[in-house]
C-alpha cells in the first residue's frame, strides 16, 4: 500500500502550476534583474510581476513586498531588523511574543535582547487561544516602543490567535506588530488592507511553492535595518542576487492559495472532522489539542496517553502513515514540544501526534490513518514494557 502523507504543515510538494511558472526561469530566462541588458530586463520584469502578485493577494503595495530566503529569515528580519532600527534611533524597545510561537520567532526575540532590546516578554496562551492580558497591557503602556510578534495560526495545533484584535491594540498603542502567517495563508483570510499588521511573514513551501523562498511584508513607515550587508537588492533590506525563479514560484503559489482559500478550507475542515471523529472512536483517552478553540482547518494535533511518542511515530511510519510529533523542526527530540507544554503544562507520558492535511488528502487516507493509529496504539499499550 502506498504511504500516506499527512505532514503538510511540515512542507508540501510544488504544485504543477507553480512548477510550470518556474520552469522558464531555470534556463532561458536566467538573467540577473540588476543587469541592464535583455536578460536582466526580462528577469526584472518577472520579479516585478511576482512582487505585484503577492502585493495584490494580501492587500499591500508593491513596494511593501520584500523577497527573502524563507520564513525563518523573514521572522528574523522583522523582529531583529525592527529592534535594531529602534535602538539606532535611541530607543530601548520591548519585544513581546507568545509562548507558542515558532522557534524562529522565539529565538529571534531572544537575540533582539542581546542587540539592544530592553526585554523580551513571552505571553502565556490558554488552549482557547486567549493571551495573558496583564503583561501585554503593561508592555503596551510603556513609554518605550514595543515590538509585538504573534503568529496567526500555530503550526503544531492549528490554533488561531485573534490577530486582528491584537494588531488593532498594538497599532492603537503606537507599537509595531509582526505576524508570522506562514500557516495561515490559504486557510484564513489574510488581508493587510483590513488588519493593521506592520510586518508579515510568508513562505512558499507550506503552500505548494518552492522551499527557501519567503516574503516579508513591511508596511510603509515601518523602518527596518537589514541583517545582511551587500548590494542594494530588495531596497537594501535583503541584499543578494534575487532568486527570480523562487519568487515567481512563490507568487504563483500565493495567488492560487488565496484564490482557492474558501474551497480549500471547507474541504480540509470536513476531512479533519472525519479524521478526528474516527480517532476519538479508535483511541481511548485521546485528546484533541485546542479542540474547542478556533483552529485552521488543516491541522489536527492529538495527545495520546500511555504510549511512547517516538515509538508511536516510528510505528505509524512503518504502517505507511507519515505524520509528525509536533513540528518537523524538532523531530528526534523526545520531549513534548514547547507549544504543547505552553498550552497544557508538563504532561509526561502523553504522546503527541500532528496530522496535517493537504490537497492530496482523501477520505480513504484519513480513514486509514485513523485505523492505523488505533491499531498501533493498541499494540503499544498491550505490549508496553515497563
Amino acid at each position: 500500500m502506498d504511504p500516506i502523507y499527512l505532514d503538510h504543515a511540515a512542507t508540501t510538494p510544488v504544485r504543477e502550476e507553480v512548477r510550470e511558472a518556474m520552469e522558464p526561469h531555470l534556463h532561458g530566462c536566467f538573467g540577473n534583474p540588476s543587469s541592464p541588458h535583455k536578460w536582466g530586463r526580462e528577469a526584472a520584469a518577472a520579479l516585478a510581476e511576482a512582487r505585484d502578485a503577492v502585493a495584490t493577494a494580501v492587500g499591500v503595495r508593491f513596494t511593501e513586498v520584500y523577497f527573502t530566503r524563507g520564513g525563518t529569515e523573514s521572522d528574523n528580519l522583522a523582529i531583529r531588523g525592527r529592534v535594531r532600527r529602534l535602538v539606532e534611533e535611541g530607543h530601548a524597545p520591548s519585544v513581546v511574543t507568545t509562548a507558542i510561537e515558532h522557534k524562529a520567532v522565539l529565538a529571534a526575540s531572544a537575540a533582539a535582547v542581546s542587540e539592544g532590546a530592553r526585554e523580551r516578554v513571552v505571553l502565556e496562551v490558554a488552549p482557547d487561544g486567549s493571551l495573558d492580558e496583564e503583561p501585554l497591557k503593561e508592555a503596551l503602556a510603556s513609554s518605550e516602543p514595543t515590538v509585538v510578534s504573534a503568529m496567526w495560526v500555530n503550526n503544531e495545533t492549528g490554533l488561531v490567535l485573534d490577530v486582528p484584535a491584537l494588531a488593532g491594540r498594538v497599532r492603537e498603542a503606537g507599537g509595531t506588530f509582526h505576524c508570522d502567517a506562514v500557516q495561515a495563508l490559504g486557510k484564513l483570510p489574510v488581508r493587510l488592507d483590513e488588519v493593521p499588521i506592520d510586518l508579515l511573514t510568508l513562505t512558499g513551501h507550506k503552500i505548494y511553492g518552492p522551499k527557501s523562498v519567503g516574503v516579508l511584508i513591511a508596511r510603509q513607515g515601518t523602518g527596518l535595518r537589514p541583517l545582511l550587508h551587500g548590494g542594494g537588492q530588495e531596497q537594501g533590506l535583503r541584499p543578494g542576487t534575487e532568486d527570480v525563479c523562487g519568487a515567481v514560484g512563490l507568487a504563483r503559489a500565493v495567488t492560487l492559495a488565496v484564490a482557492e482559500r474558501e474551497a480549500t478550507a471547507r474541504r480540509l475542515a470536513d476531512l479533519r472532522e472525519r479524521l478526528e471523529e474516527r480517532l476519538i472512536r479508535e483511541v481511548e483517552g485521546l485528546r484533541i489539542h485546542a479542540g474547542d478553540a478556533r483552529r485552521a482547518p488543516h491541522v489536527s494535533s492529538v495527545g495520546i496517553p500511555g504510549v511512547d511518542g517516538s515509538s508511536l511515530l516510528m510505528s505509524l511510519d512503518l504502517e505507511g502513515v507519515a505524520v509528525s510529533g509536533g513540528s518537523a523542526c524538532q523531530s528526534g527530540a523526545q520531549d513534548v514540544s514547547h507549544v504543547i507544554r505552553a498550552l497544557y503544562g508538563d504532561d509526561a507520558g502523553i504522546a503527541v501526534v500532528r496530522y496535517s492535511l493537504g490537497r492530496s488528502t482523501t477520505e480513504a487516507e484519513v480513514d486509514r490513518a485513523a485505523r492505523a493509529t488505533g491499531e498501533v496504539v493498541a499494540r503499544l499499550r498491550s505490549g508496553a514494557p515497563a
Binding site: S311, S315, D317, L318, G332, A333, G383
Partner: protein, 366 residues
Amino acid sequence: MSRVLVAMSGGVDSSVAAALLTDAGHEVVGVTMKTFCYTGTGSHGKSCCGLDGIADARRVAVALDIPHYVFDVEEDFTRDVIDDFVDEYAQGRTPNPCVRCNSNTKFRDLLRRGRELGCDRIASGHYVRSEHGPDGSRLLRGRDEAKDQSYFLWGLPREILPKLLFPLGDLTKPEVRARARALELTTAEKPESQEICFVPTGDYRDLLQKRLGSVHAALQPGPLVDRSGEVVGEHDGYAGFTVGQRKGLGGGFDGPRYVLEIRPADRAVVVGAREELYSDLVEVGELNWLTPEPPRPGDELSVQLRYRAPAVPATIQTSHGRQLLELHQEFPAVTPGQSAVLFQGDRVLGGGRIVRAGRHTTPAPA
C-alpha cells in the same frame, strides 16, 4: 519473513548486515543509536556513531529502501557507560566501555524499542555467529579470526540471545567490503573506527578532567614504585596508566619497565620488569553466563583476557565467595577493569570483569 531491527552505526559492517538481511527477504528497520551529543566537543564526529555516522546510516537506508530511525539513548548511555568509564579510571582500573554498552545499554534498548515497533529480531554488524536450536541459543566466535568480536558480547543478557541475528558471522572483512562495493554503498571504503565513541579527540584524560575535576586524586602526580616499595620516579596522574603500559614512565631504569599495578590508595603506580607482568590466577566479578548453567569447577575452558589476544586454557573455581580463573599458562598484563571472556571451543560461555590478577604460588593479594 519477520521484521528485523538492525543497529546501523553508519559503518561498512552494519551497512552490509542490513543489506544481507534485506536480501534474505526480511522486513528490515534500521536504527542508529545516538549515544552522545557531539555539539560543543569541537570534533566532527570522526568515530562511527557521530553525526556523520547518522547521516551515513540514513544514506545507506535510503539506498536499501528501508526505513531508518534514530534512537536517542544519551541519558541511559551517560549513566550506564560514561559514568562507569570515569569511575573505573578514578579507581585505577581500565574500563571497557564497548562491553559495558553492549551489555547494559545497546541491546536492551534495541530489544525494548524493537518490540514496540513490531520487530521480533535484533541484528547487528558484529563479527560473531549465533545458533538457535531446540536446546537454546549459542553465541560463537566469528569465522574471520582477525575480526572476531565475541570478546565484546559476553555481557549480553542471556534472554536476549534467542532474538539476535549476526549476518556477518560467516564472512570475512574483505568479503564484507567487497559486498559493500558491489552494492555501491556510500560506506564501502569507510575506515575502521578505532576511538571510543564518546572520546572523539582520542584523549580520554580530557573527559576525566571535565567529569572528575583536575584536583581529583586520579589526575594528581604520584609516586612510581617498584615491587619492593621503593620510589623510583613520579607520574602525572594514575588515570593515565594501564597495566602493561610502557610509555610515560620516564627513563633511568636498567631495562624496560612496565606498569604492574595501579594503587589508588596511595596514588602509586607500581612498575617492574617484563617478567613481573605475568600472572596465572585471575579474580573476576560481575559474571554473566550465556549458557543455561554456569560451567562447573574443573571444566576445561579457555579464557580471553584482552581483545585480539589468544584464549588460554583455564578452569574456574570459587574460593571464599570469590570467582577465580586458574590459567594453565601464564599471561601478561592482566588488567583490572578489562574483560575475561570464557569459551568452550568457539562458543562464548560468558565472562566477567577482571578484579585482580596474581600468581598461583602467591595467591591473589586481597
